[in-house]
C-alpha cells in the first residue's frame, strides 16, 4: 500500500525518534507489539492532521489497520521525499481560509484567529484555521471537515496520488 509519512529533518520520526533509512530499508514494528505500536503513516485525506517538516511517500506492508486519521502497518519503508512540499505556501492557504471565515462572521474571536494564523508556522496555521472553521460553523464536525479540505489542498498542490 502506498501512503505518506511526515518526518523531521534527517528522516526522524517526530514522536518515537526512530530514524528511517533513506535508502528504502524496511522499518518494522517490534514482534508482538500491541496495537498502536506499529508503523504509522497517513492517507491523502489525513495529511493535514500530521503536518511536519518533511513529507515522504512510503510503502506499507503486512497487516494494515485503517483509522480515522492514520494508518498503521507492520512495516514500512521510505520511497521518495515529496520535494514539492512548501510549508509557507500551505500556511498561506490556511491564512486565506481563516480570513474568509472571519469575513463571514466578523467577531473579535475571528479577528484573533486571523492575527494568530498570519504569524505561525504551517502546523499551527493548519490547526488555527480548523479551529476558526469550527467557530464559524458552530460544530465540532467542521474542525475535521476543515482538516479534510486542507488535506485535499495538499494532495492537489503537491500532485500526490496513492496509486
Amino acid at each position: 500500500m502506498i501512503a505518506f509519512k511526515w518526518l523531521g529533518r534527517g528522516a526522524i520520526a517526530p514522536f518515537t525518534g526512530v530514524h528511517w533509512p533513506a535508502d528504502g530499508g524496511w522499518v518494522s514494528a517490534p514482534a508482538g507489539a500491541p496495537e498502536g505500536s506499529g508503523v504509522h503513516a497517513c492517507r491523502l485525506a489525513q495529511l493535514a492532521w500530521w503536518v511536519g517538516e518533511d513529507l515522504w511517500r512510503v510503502e506499507l506492508d503486512g497487516r494494515i489497520v485503517e483509522r480515522e486519521t492514520e494508518v498503521e502497518a507492520e512495516r514500512g519503508r521510505l520511497l521518495e521525499p515529496i520535494t514539492a512540499w512548501n510549508p509557507a505556501a500551505f500556511a498561506q492557504a490556511c491564512v486565506a481560509r481563516t480570513i474568509a471565515f472571519a469575513s463571514e462572521v466578523p467577531t473579535p474571536e475571528m479577528a484573533d484567529y486571523v492575527a494568530m494564523v498570519k504569524v505561525v508556522d504551517a502546523p499551527k496555521a493548519s490547526f488555527v484555521s480548523a479551529v476558526a472553521a469550527a467557530a464559524v460553523r458552530g460544530t465540532q464536525k467542521a474542525f475535521a471537515e476543515e482538516r479534510a479540505l486542507q488535506s485535499q489542498w495538499l494532495a492537489r498542490a503537491l500532485d500526490l496520488r496513492e496509486a
Binding site: S37, W50, F143
Partner: protein, 85 residues
Amino acid sequence: MSSRVPDQPTCREIVELITDYLEGRLPLEARTRLEQHLVFCDWCRVYLEQIHQTIRVAGAVTEESLSPEKREELVRLFRDWKGKK
C-alpha cells in the same frame, strides 16, 4: 497554544497525560489526540522533551553512584519538602 475545540485536549490535559503516554499506558485514541496536539504545540513538545531528559538523567543515577554527601543532601531536601507539605 491551548485548544478551544471541544474534543481536542488542552495543554493542561496533555501535561496530565504525559507520564501515561511515555509509559505506553494511554488508550490508542487518547494517544492519537495527544500526538496530534504535539504536532502544532511547541510548549507541549518542549515539556515532553524536558521529561525525556529528566528520565535519561535521573534514570542513570543509582544509590550506589551517589557520594555520602550527595545522599545526605538529597535526604535533607526530601525531609524539608515533606515538612512543608
